[in-house]
């Protein structure tokens, strides 16, 4: 049997990797993929706790997280497409129309 802590440490590491991706990358599509990575790390935590507590609630919440992640990916990519049409670039640094 693998202890719960191993899964929690693994998901903390994956979450931190996702945060690094959002911080350092200058490509909107990779930023969105890093967000998916973070959501997966949290899902792993939910499933690990559901297993260790013997409750189905964590698995149901993962189901909802997947629905929200699907909606987020669809809207995010639609925004990426419309930004690319206007700016011909995927660099978030260039989206500064509202910057003083």
């Amino acid at each position: 049997m693998v202890p719960l802590d191993y899964y929690l440490i693994l998901s903390a590491i994956i979450f931190a990797i996702g945060v690094v991706g959002v911080l350092i990358r200058r490509n909107l599509i990779i930023v969105l993929m890093s967000i998916e990575l973070m959501l997966n790390a949290v899902n792993l935590t939910f499933i690990a706790f559901a297993n260790s507590l013997g409750s189905m609630d964590g698995q149901v919440i993962v189901f909802f997280v997947m629905a929200v992640a699907a909606a987020e990916a669809v809207i995010g990519l639609a925004i990426v497409i419309s930004v690319f049409r206007h700016r011909q670039s995927l660099d978030p640094q260039e989206m500064q129309l509202l910057k003083w």
């Binding site: 693994l10 945060v19 690094v20 809207i75």
Partner: protein, 164 residues
């Protein structure tokens, strides 16, 4: 160290490597492929945690639908030119990530959840148990999720529509 733990460490190592590949790869398509691998590995971890139904959904929804959408947008936009690797900024980001992981690990492992898992019953994590929980305790969130998906569909069509 028994067989299950050896398997876990292999899966965990592969998952960390493919996640790093997603973040530090300059080519967008390579990042997307590494993300597919990472999502499959997470699905296998779900299977080892008595969650077969969620694992299958993970492959269908994430590795199937969402990644096809990502790849389709990458092909559609065809973002030419690799991103510059700015060493100072990337090093700073990696340092911030290490600090965050170092802060998260003690917080997560300090909880008073039972360290030894409850022995799973035959049905735990299967479609039957998941559906029973979903349609009794979580009916309202389920309906809200369906409205959310409808809004997402309409929003995506409006946003990506070519202006007349």
């Amino acid at each position: 160290m028994n067989g299950a733990q050896v398997g876990f460490f292999i899966l965990a190592g592969l998952l960390i490597v493919s996640s790093l590949w997603v973040v530090f790869q300059r080519n967008v398509v390579h990042s997307a492929m590494a993300l597919v691998a990472a999502l499959f590995l997470v699905a296998i971890l779900f299977l080892t945690l008595n969650a077969p139904m969620v694992g299958v959904l993970q492959i269908l929804v994430y590795a199937g639908a969402i990644m096809v959408l990502f790849l389709f947008v990458i092909m559609f936009l065809n973002p030419i030119g690799l991103e510059q690797r700015r060493r100072l900024w990337w090093g700073f980001g990696a340092l911030a990530g290490l600090l965050l992981a170092g802060a998260l690990v003690p917080v997560l492992t300090n909880g008073d959840a039972p360290r030894d898992p409850v022995v799973a019953t035959e049905l735990f994590g299967g479609p039957e148990e998941l559906a029973r929980s979903l349609f009794t305790d979580f009916v309202l969130p389920f309906e809200i999720a369906s409205i959310l998906l409808l809004v997402a569909i309409v929003g995506a069509v409006v946003l990506a529509k070519r202006e007349p």
